[in-house]
Amino acid sequence: MKDLTRRSFLASSLRAALFGAYAVNSSAQARSTPWSNWSGGQTCRPAGRYDIASEDQLIELLNSTSGPIRPIGSGHSFSPLIPTDGHLVIIDQLSGILDYDSSTLQATIGAGSRLGDLGVALDDIGQGMLNLPDIDRQTLAGATATGTHGTGITLQSLAGNITSLRLVTPEGEIRDIDASDGDLFDAVRVNVGALGVVTQIRLQNREAYKLKKREWTAPTEDILTDFDELAASHRHFEIFPLVYSDYSMVLSIDESDQPIGQTIIPAEEVTLADLRPLGVDATPLERLTMNNALAANAETSEVVDLSHKLLSNIRNNRFNEMEYSIPAEGSAECVREILKTIYDQAIDVAFPLEYRYVSPEDPWLSMAYGDEPHATISIHRTAREDYRPYFDIIEPIFWKYGGRPHWGKIHSLGHRELSQLYPRFRDFMEIRQSLDPNGRMLNEHLKNLFDA
């Protein structure tokens, strides 16, 4: 007889506990599993989820079902773009590099690819993406549809680097769209998931490259005064103004041919970790004093690595975020007003702001649509906290400066306000109506956005 040790008994018990209920309850649980976004701030209980492996499956789904359909990437949007009681279409399987051209440095990529997986795959074919957003778990389709961007006054958003894409319309028609399609191309690159399901995207890349990132702290007012010059003199330049402090964390990134390596502990990690314990008991003045002392002593760090490893990150602390873009000229005053409001109203928040410039670009619903550079300003709240009181106080400040909201982040605007902020917004609504006359791509949030 086989010996029954305490360890094997425990393992057997755990196995039984883990799988015991599966056979009995699997179908009922399958229908009731809720969906939630990355932060946990958005939830829904869809009628069905469809994990499509091909465009044919997608078309069959569109033709064989009725009711709302929402395409879903990795669920990183903080705004309610996804929640529906209809069907979720998961595009994870539409991933990988499908085709590439080494002479034009373009690549056609499955729209469900995660940005973090693309860095290595593109590096293997000698290409690197021109820029990346902060979080690398997002899918290419989700990031482009929401106008997600990185940092750099000469660098466009991910959508701005699209040379063509394939859209499966709500009526099941495949459309390959590029610049020759004129208005449709400018509408579909940032589409908020409202025009159909994008299945593949061709990106303009560049040769693979290395970057050098430098992080340090400096007085916020000094940096704001020189921000235009600093932004123009680095490939990427941004600051994280510390709340209850006269300092900012500063980040610059430039091309480098130095060996890969890091010199010292990143200043950002040291500062954030040290700021959190200050908690709710400290008065604004006490926080200011302590934060200034910490920030003044934060060290400078430098690291050289492959571009995709430095531009995009895994975020281990989940949060909710509001981000608006405003014209770069005069945007420093908006940063000052937000910092002053937090201090004056003693808002209990430790997350720094984020302030950066992005290049003008053509997609109609891009935050940086038009001819002038835009600044983007972000505020954050940990996922455990109710973000609404803080965001409700700050959002009107963005409106004063003509702010356009990020589609994937928290905002409270509807079509009336949005049509004043985006010059081609009504044109987008007309294209949306023509592609989706029955409104299958709309949930309640999108109906409010697009007056449908």
Binding site: R15, L18, Y22, Q29, W38, I72, D92, Q93, R318
Partner: protein, 76 residues
């Protein structure tokens, strides 16, 4: 395995952000000792760095049970 490779594997292969590494029975036994419902609740609602559903948007409860079992090495 395809679903696992596109979701759980993102963190549970390397141990990113403190995730228990697939196949490391010692790490998994500590979690399993807290009970099945506790683990499933963490997967569905998110826990520390792991987002709700662990990046598997198509997974249902049965899939999560199987994935946990696979990573813990108890359904071989």
């Amino acid at each position: 395995m395809g679903k696992w490779a596109r979701s759980c594997a993102l963190c549970h292969v390397t141990g990113e952000a403190g995730a228990p590494i697939a196949g490391d029975s010692a790490q998994w036994q500590r979690r399993l000792a807290q009970g099945e419902e506790s683990i499933l609740q963490r997967v569905l609602e998110g826990y520390n760095s792991m987002p709700p559903l662990g990046y598997c948007m198509s997974c249902e409860v049965k899939d999560f049970r199987a994935m946990v079992g696979f990573m813990a090495g108890i359904n071989q």
